[in-house]
Structure formats: C-alpha cells, structure tokens
C-alpha cells in the first residue's frame, strides 16, 4: 500500500557515496543512510526516478531540481535527495554527470527496501530495464511526516517536478 500525506515516512536503509570535494573523481566508499536518522527534525524533498541516466530523468526531472536548489533552500528545505533503484555507484556517477556536488544527495535503493516500504514500485516497464523500478514521484517530508506526495501517472514530469514541489512548500 502506498504511503499517503500524513503518514510517517518509513525507516529504510539506503546507500550512497558521499561527494568528496577534494577528489571529485575518486571512487568513494559506500555509506549507509537510515531515513529516520537522517531526516528527523528536518524538512526534506525527496524525488524518485525510475532510472539514472534515462532520457526523462536526465533531461527534465533532475535539471529542474538543480535549477531550483536556491528556491528550495530559501523555503526551508534542509535536504534535497534523489533516489532510484540503481546502485550507489551508478547514482554517484549520475550525480557527477549532472555536477550536483553535495547539493543533492544521490541515494540508492538497489535492494528495493524503500520501494517496498512505501509501495511505489512501478509496474513492469517491459524488457530490458529490469523489473523493480521506483515510480517517478516527489515527496516533502517534514520531521518524518509526509506533507506532500506527487506521483506521476504518465510519462513526463509534472506533480513530481521542482515547480510543483515549490508550490507546496
């Protein structure tokens, strides 16, 4: 069952590779992020994508968040995070390709723990990209409470895009 506004965001273990400003091209060590530890007491915007490096994600979804980072911060957002079921190496590489530095946390849900907990896996996408992908969505989490959830029901970026999220902050 999918999460809803008013629910507590589930506690899931995600992984990521911290941005290293001194060695941006280095392969860093994997770190774990427990959503409740990292998000407690904070205002978080988390957007989820079916896959790193896919055309919609790279051309329209992520760039909107990069362009609106200052606007998000000025509305009190402490953490902007992106999550997909790609692994942390891929997420880190995708972040580097988009030059997000440490402005956006690039999180991996490769084992599907978060997707299972929030009930937002996409249906079968057809052959070739794997069966277990997250739906495209964005969620605003305020001290672990879900205050906005926008899930895309068609191709493209509308309710999960940075402008839609900004309007709800």
């Amino acid at each position: 069952m999918a999460i809803e506004v008013g629910d507590t965001f589930p506690n899931a273990v995600l992984s990521y590779i911290p941005y290293d400003a001194a060695n941006p091209d280095a392969c860093g060590l994997t770190q774990q992020l427990k959503t409740h530890d990292a998000f407690r007491g904070k205002k978080v915007v988390l957007f989820a994508v079916p896959g790193a490096f896919t055309p919609t994600c790279s051309e329209s979804h992520m760039p909107g968040y990069i362009a609106h980072l200052d606007d998000l911060k000025s509305k009190g957002v402490d953490i902007v995070a992106c999550v997909a079921t790609n692994d942390q190496f891929v997420m880190s590489a995708w972040g580097k390709a988009n030059k997000v530095k440490d402005d956006i946390l690039m999180l991996s849900d490769a084992n599907g723990e978060l997707g299972s907990a929030i009930g937002l896996f996409k249906g079968d996408q057809g052959p070739g990209v794997g069966p277990r992908r997250l739906a495209r969505f964005a969620v605003i989490i305020d001290d672990l409470k879900v205050v906005y959830l926008g899930v895309e029901t068609a191709r493209g970026v509308s309710v999960s895009g940075a402008p839609a999220v900004l309007a709800k902050l």
Binding site: S15, A93, A110, V129, G130
Partner: protein
C-alpha cells in the same frame, strides 16, 4: 547450466544504445543484441562485470579492453561486448564516461536473462547492489561456440577475465 568450452553460447537478447558519433551526448533508442544472430560467423569477446561505475570495473577491468581493443581486432576479434546487470541507459553512460565510443558494445542484462542462461548470475543484495548481477568473467565465442570462458573466483579482482588473459587465449 554453466557456460562451457565447446558448447553453444546461449541465445539471449541484450539491449544497448548504439554509439552515435554525431550525437555523442544524445539519448538514442535502445537496440536489441540477439547473441545468436550477432555472434554467428564472428569471433566475439564477451566481458561480464558485476556493475557499471564500480571501482574494480571502472579502474582496472574495462579501460584495458578499451585501450587494447586494436590488439583484439588484430587477433581476429570482430565484436567486443561488455555486459552487466545494469540497464542499457547506465551501460551507455558508463561507456561514454570511459571514452569507449564504438570499440565495445555496452550491453545491459537488466532482466538477468544472460545470468540465468549461463549460470553466471551473482546475487549482490547482501552488499546493497541488488540481486540480479553477473559475476566477473570473460569469454571468447567463435561462430556461436564458446572457445574460452573464465570467471573470477574473487569478483573484486581482475586476472583470468582481464584483457591480457583473453589476448593470450586468442
């Protein structure tokens, strides 16, 4: 069933995004690489890796295949395929990051068909990389028949699956 020398390479359909010199940064549509059709009458080197952009793969394993692709060609290799359980978008992006261009076909086995058909699947869920991965291996396939196949006992190392070993076996 494991991949075995002397036996046919299994027929699976992998996906890849063709290199397009005119639009190197573009997102082209994926194409199907049918191993039976694509390998017929050709000498093919298939290199399997646990994951794109992982330290061992990016630092030690595939760059050597890129830089020494001309030596492989000189020994009669028609096609070099790098495959992992990542999807084709990721494989294409990884290829671009290593400057592969069209030297190697960067193919995705995101649904795990090749892993199942070859017995070379690797479950890396325990280390957070997901369950549908390939072990690190290299194979030489001549006209659809496996002529060489070696898998790394330790997938973090590159020995029998490295380009030196493959060149020596050609």
């Amino acid at each position: 069933m494991a991949l075995t020398v002397g036996e046919a390479f299994p027929q699976v359909q992998l996906k890849y995004i063709p290199y397009d010199a005119a639009a190197a940064d573009g997102c082209a549509a994926p194409q199907v690489l049918d191993t039976k059709a694509a390998f017929a009458g050709k000498t093919v080197v298939v290199v399997g890796v646990p994951g794109a952009f992982t330290p061992t793969c990016s630092v030690q394993h595939i760059p050597a295949y890129v830089s020494r692709a001309p030596e492989l060609r000189a020994k009669g290799v028609d096609l070099i395929v790098c495959v992992s359980g990542n999807d084709f978008f990721v494989m294409s992006a990884w290829g671009k990051s290593m400057g592969v261009q069209d030297a190697i076909v960067m193919a995705g086995d995101a649904n795990g068909d090749l892993g199942r058909a070859t017995g070379l699947a690797l479950d890396l869920a325990a280390v957070g990389l997901g369950a549908v991965r390939l072990t690190r291996f290299a194979a030489i396939v001549r006209d659809g028949t496996v002529a060489y196949v070696e898998t790394e006992d330790d997938p973090t190392q590159v020995t029998v699956s490295g380009v030196d070993s493959v060149l020596a076996a050609l």
